[in-house]
Symmetry: D2
Subunit: 339 residues, 4 copies
C-alpha cells in the first residue's frame, strides 16, 4: 500500500500517518519527492480493507494498493491451470467443451427434444433453467423442482451432464442433487451469502460475470467460493453493460486472456447472452475460441419464436449443428479439440 500525501501536508500529518500504519502492523517507509511525500506501508495488505480508511487522515491525498486482493484464485499461488473433472469430462484441458440448451426448461417434451439435439451436435453438456431470474415479476419464473426432474430425465436418456442455475441459498441442496454443474447467474455474482453456501459443496460451480463487474470483482467472487474449500470454479464471461445499444451486452473478450494471466481457473464464454442476437452467436463463438476460451455456452431452441424467454438469442437446431461444424477448424487452429 502506498499512501500519497498532499503537497500541503504538514510534518505532523506525515508522522501521524506513519504512526497509524505501524499501529496496524505494517512497516512505514518514507519517500520524500520533489513536490510531495509518499509513505509505503510494507506488509501483507490483502484483507486489509481497513488501510483504505487511511484516506480519511489529514494530509492524505490517496491510497494506492500494490498487491492483488485475491490469493486462492491467483496465479501467484498456483501456476498450473486448473482442470475440472465433471464426472469424467474435463473443463480447462485441451478439449474445448460446449454447453448447449434452452434458456428455460419449458416442458418435459421440450427439454428431451433439445437434449437429443444437443447430443447429436456433439456437445457434452446440457443447459436449461428451472429457476429463472427475470427482470419482471410477471414473466415466466421457471418450472422449479419439476424442471430439475425433467433435466434429470434428459440426462438419463442422453448421458449429457446437466448445468442449471441456483438463485437462492435455500435451494442449493435441491439443485445440487440434480445438477452436474451449478450455475450462478450474472445478477447473483455478488450474492455473497449464496457464494459461501456453494463454497461448502464439492460440486463444480459455473460463475457468470456480473454485467457491472470488473475482472477483479469477478475473481473476488470466485475467491469467496474457493475460500470455503470448493476449488471447482469455472468462470464465464457473458458480456458487460456499456452504452452500446446494437447488442444486448458488450462481450468483453479481452477478459479471457486477462483472466488467464491472473488466474488458474478455466474460463468459458456465453456468446448468446454476450450478444443477445442469434445472428451474432456464430462469429462470436469463433472469436471466443480464438481468444483462448475453454468452452462455450450456447442457447438453442427448436422454435425460438415460441420460447418463454431469450428466443431471439437462441439458435435453431440446424444453426447449432452448423456452429459445431464451423468452429472445428478454429479449434484445430488453436491446437485444441472439440469436446
Amino acid at each position: 500500500m502506498v499512501i500519497v500525501m498532499k503537497q500541503e501536508a504538514s510534518p505532523a500529518d506525515i508522522d501521524h500517518v506513519v504512526e497509524v500504519i505501524e499501529r496496524l502492523g505494517y512497516r512505514a517507509h518514507l519517500i520524500r519527492g520533489v513536490e510531495r511525500t509518499v509513505v509505503a506501508a510494507v506488509g501483507d495488505e490483502r484483507g486489509k480493507a481497513r488501510l483504505e480508511s487511511l484516506r480519511a487522515l489529514a494530509g492524505v491525498e490517496g491510497v494506492v494498493p500494490i498487491l492483488k486482493p485475491y490469493k486462492l484464485v491467483g496465479r501467484e499461488l498456483k501456476r498450473e491451470r486448473t482442470e475440472i473433472d465433471v464426472d469424467g469430462v474435463i473443463i480447462g484441458g485441451r478439449e474445448i467443451q460446449v454447453i448447449a440448451g434452452p434458456c428455460s426448461v419449458e416442458s418435459r417434451e421440450q427439454i428431451i427434444e433439445i437434449a437429443e439435439i444437443v447430443k447429436r451436435g456433439g456437445a457434452k453438456f446440457l443447459r436449461g433453467g428451472a429457476y429463472k431470474p427475470r427482470t419482471s415479476p410477471y414473466s415466466f419464473q421457471g418450472l422449479e423442482e419439476k424442471g430439475l426432474e425433467m433435466l434429470a430425465e434428459a440426462r438419463d436418456r442422453t448421458g449429457l451432464k446437466v448445468v442449471t442455475e441456483v438463485m437462492d441459498g435455500h435451494n442449493v441442496e435441491r439443485v445440487a442433487q440434480y445438477a452436474d454443474i451449478i450455475q450462478v447467474g450474472a445478477r447473483n455474482m455478488q450474492n455473497f451469502a449464496l457464494l459461501k453456501t456453494l463454497g461448502k459443496l464439492r460440486k463444480p460451480v459455473l460463475l457468470k460475470r456480473g454485467m457491472m463487474s470488473t475482472v477483479e470483482e469477478f475473481l473476488m467472487s470466485a475467491e469467496y467460493i474457493l475460500a470455503e474449500g470448493n476449488y471447482k470454479v469455472i468462470l464465464c464471461e457473458r458480456g458487460i453493460r456499456t452504452f452500446e445499444t446494437s447488442t444486448r451486452s458488450t462481450l468483453d473478450l479481452n477478459a479471457i486472456p486477462v483472466i488467464q494471466k491472473l488466474s488458474h481457473l478455466p474460463v468459458i464464454v456465453d456468446p448468446s447472452h454476450g450478444t443477445g442476437r442469434w445472428d451474432l452467436v456464430l462469429p462470436m463463438a469463433k472469436a471466443s475460441v480464438a481468444a483462448g476460451a475453454d468452452g462455450l455456452m450456447i442457447e438453442i431452441h427448436p422454435h425460438p419464436e415460441e420460447a418463454f424467454s431469450d428466443g431471439y438469442q437462441s439458435l435453431v437446431p440446424k444453426r447449432y449443428f452448423s456452429l459445431m461444424t464451423e468452429i472445428k477448424p478454429l479449434v484445430a487452429a488453436m491446437g485444441r479439440t472439440l469436446g
Copy 2:
C-alpha cells in the same frame, strides 16, 4: 408492441407475423410504409416477454415495446405520491428525512456513541450494517445477530428508527424483528428470491438501486415487492457505475425527477456511496434536496480512519452537524421541512 419488418420481408413473412401475434391473443394492425411494413400488436403487453421472441421470426427487424413494463409502482395506476409511515415518521411527505450512521456496526460502544450523535444532529433514523456485503471474503463481514441487538439497544436509548440491511432470504425474519426499515443493498437489487420474500412482509423496505441498473430495472425490482402485497417501498439512488474514476460512483440525480414522474414511491439519495468521498457529501446532499429527494442517507463515523469499512466516505460528527445546519436553507427554499 410494434414489430418492424425488414425491407426485404416477403408477404408470407408478414402474414406469419400477423398469425403469431393473433395466436398470442393480440390484434394485429398493419402499416405499410414507403420502405417497410410495421405491424402493431394491440393488447396488454405487460408480462408478455414472449412477444420479444418474435424478433426471431423471418423478416422481422425489431420489436419495440410501447407500454411501460410495470403496473403497481407506476403513476398511471396511482397518481398521488405514496407516504410511508414508519411508526409515526413519514417518508415521502413534506418533511425530508435523514438516515445517518456508520457503514457497519462495529461494537456496542461505537453504535451507541454514534446513535447519540445522530440524534443530536436532528436525524430520526439510524443506519448501521450487521450483515455486510463485501467484495472480499477476507474483509470484515459484520457482527450479524449481535449487531442487530446492538442496533436495538441504540434505538431503545435514543428513540431513533433503525434501518439495516438484509443480505439473504433466510435472515429476513431475524432482521425484520429488529429493523424499522429493511434495506436491500445495491448488489441484491436483482436478487429476486429475496425481493419476493420481502414482498410478503408488511415492513417498509429501502431498496437501493443497483450500480448498473437502469431506472426501469430499478422500478421492476420494486414491482416484485409490491406484487407480493408490500406497498411500503422506499427507493434509494446511490450512484451508478460509469467510466469516471474521480468518484467511486456517479450519483445519478437525473433519476430523482425521472422516478418521480414514473412512480408514486418516495425516493431518497445516499451521497456517501454516490460519491465515495466525505468531502463531496455536503454539496451532493444539497444537490439531492434541490433535485427533489425525499430524504438523505449519510454515513458518519467518529474516527473514520479506524472504520472497519467505508471510512473515507464517512463524515466526522462535526461535519454531520454542519451538514444538518447547512442544508436547512435549501430545504426551506424547496418548500419543505427537515425531519
Copy 3:
C-alpha cells in the same frame, strides 16, 4: 511515479528499472516489501508520458503516477478561484450567470424573438449555434456566418452577451469576431488542434466536457488552452454517456465539487443536454445551483415542436420565466445572487 515489480522479478530486472529511471533524470528509491519490490521515481513526472513506457520492461507489473498531470488549471499553483470578466459581467464570482437561447439560430426573427425573451427573463447571455455538429450529414448544419450576423444583431438590440460554438480551426477568427464567449462542443473537447488555436486568443472559451471524458481529461483539455496563454476558460458539465436510457445523458453533478477542489476555473452546468428532456431541466437546474455551479446554460425555444434541433429539451418561454423565478430561493440559500 511508483513502479511495482512482479513477485518473480529478478534482481537484474530491478537493477535495469533503476538504471532506466535514472537515465530519464529521476532519482530511484527502492522499497523491498514482503512479497514484492516497489521502485519510486522521484522527480517531476508531469509531461513524462514516457515513464508510462516502463511498464514494457521485464519484471514490471505496473506503473502508478503520483502527481496530477496538469499544472496551470490546478489549485496547487493558484489557490484563489478565477473570475472571468466578460465585458463587465463576471463568471465565477458570487453572481450565478444564466446563458439561455435556442440550440440553433434558425432565422433572424427567431433569434431576435428569443433574445428578447432571454433578456426579459433576466439572463445576461444569449446562446445559439451558427455552426452545428450533427450526428447525421442530412440534418440541419447551421446558418454559418449568416447565423453569426443574426446573433450580433440580437446582441445589439438587447445588450446580451453572445455565446456560440466554433467547430473548426479555420473558423476561429470569424467566430471570435462575433462571439463574446466561444464555445467548444463536447465532441470537440479533444480536438487538440482547435484547443491550441483558441489558446492563442484572449477571448473567454466555454469548454464543454466530452460525453465520455473523465474529469482529469476535461482538465487536461483546459490545460491545452491555458498552456497557450489564454486563461479565460469556463468549464461546462453537460452530462456523460452511461448505460442509462431514460435520459439522453447522465448529468454528473459530482463533477462540480470535484472540479472545484482540483481547479480554480469556473464551472457551469447545462441541464438541457445533461438530461435531454425539458421536463427535467428545472429540477436539475436547481440541483446544479445547490451543487455549487457558477452558472447554467439553458435551451429555450418558443415553438419546440418546430425546432430544427433539440426541440424536446428546450423550454418554452413561460417555463424559462418560471425557472428564473423558482431557482431564486435556491440561489439565495447558497449565499449567491442571480446574474
Copy 4:
C-alpha cells in the same frame, strides 16, 4: 417514425400530432390500443431529425424511429461488400491485411528500422503518427511534416503503403500528399468539419471508432465522408470506454459482425489500442480474425521502454513475427489468406 401518445392524451392532442405530421409531409396512421394510441408517420424519415421535436408536443410520450438513419454506408442500398484498392492491395477482399508500425514516428532511423521489420514480417502497410493527439499538452506532439517525409522515405525503401493520421482540416492536403491511407483518430470521429473535407478527396480513409461512440454513430460518421463523394472508407474498431479497468479499452468485437450486417464497408481491428497491453495483442488479434475482421492494425516498437508514446502496448519485433506466424492457421481456418 412511430409517435406513442400518453395514456391521458386528449383527442385534441392526437389531432394536433396528426396535423403536424402531415404538415411535415408524412402520412399519419392512427392505431388505437387498449391503453393508448400510437401514431405512425409514414414517409422517408432519414434526415428528418425534426420529427424528434414532436416529443415536445402535448400528450406525446415518445418518438420511435423505424428506419436506419444512414443510406450510403448501408447494406440496403448496396448489398455486396466494398473492396478498397490501395494502389494494388485490396482491403475488404479475401486477403486479410496487416497494418503495423510505431505509435509515433520518432526519428528517421526509427521509422526505417521499423519499416524493414514490418516488411520482413509480411505486412503490406506501415503505420506511424506524424501528428499525435495527446491528452496532455506537455506530451510529445509528433514530428509533423518532417515525420511525413520520413514515412515517405520508409515507403520508398520498402514498398509498404503508408497509413498516417490527420488531426486538423488545414493539414489534410499535406497529409494526403504523403499517405496512402489517411487515418482519422478516435477523438476526431465526430469532427464533422474534418470528415467533410476528407469526403472531398479520393484517397482511402481509415476511420477509427470513437471511444464513446455507438455503432450507429460510427456509421453516421462514415456517411459524412461518403455523402461528399469519397466511397473509400475503412472502419476500424479500437475499443470503447467502459467501467473495466484491467484493460485500457474494452475491445468490442461484437461490433465486427454487427457492422458487417449493417454496412458494406470493410472493417478492421486495432488490438493494440483495444487492449492497451502488448501481452493481450496476440490473443485479441486471433479473436479479431475469427470474428471476421478484414485486417489488423498493430503497434510495434523495437525498444518499447523508450517509446515516446504507447510503449506498453507495442510488440517487440520478435513478438510481431510470432504473431504473423501464429495467426496464419486461424486466417486459413476462416477461409482467407494473410495479405
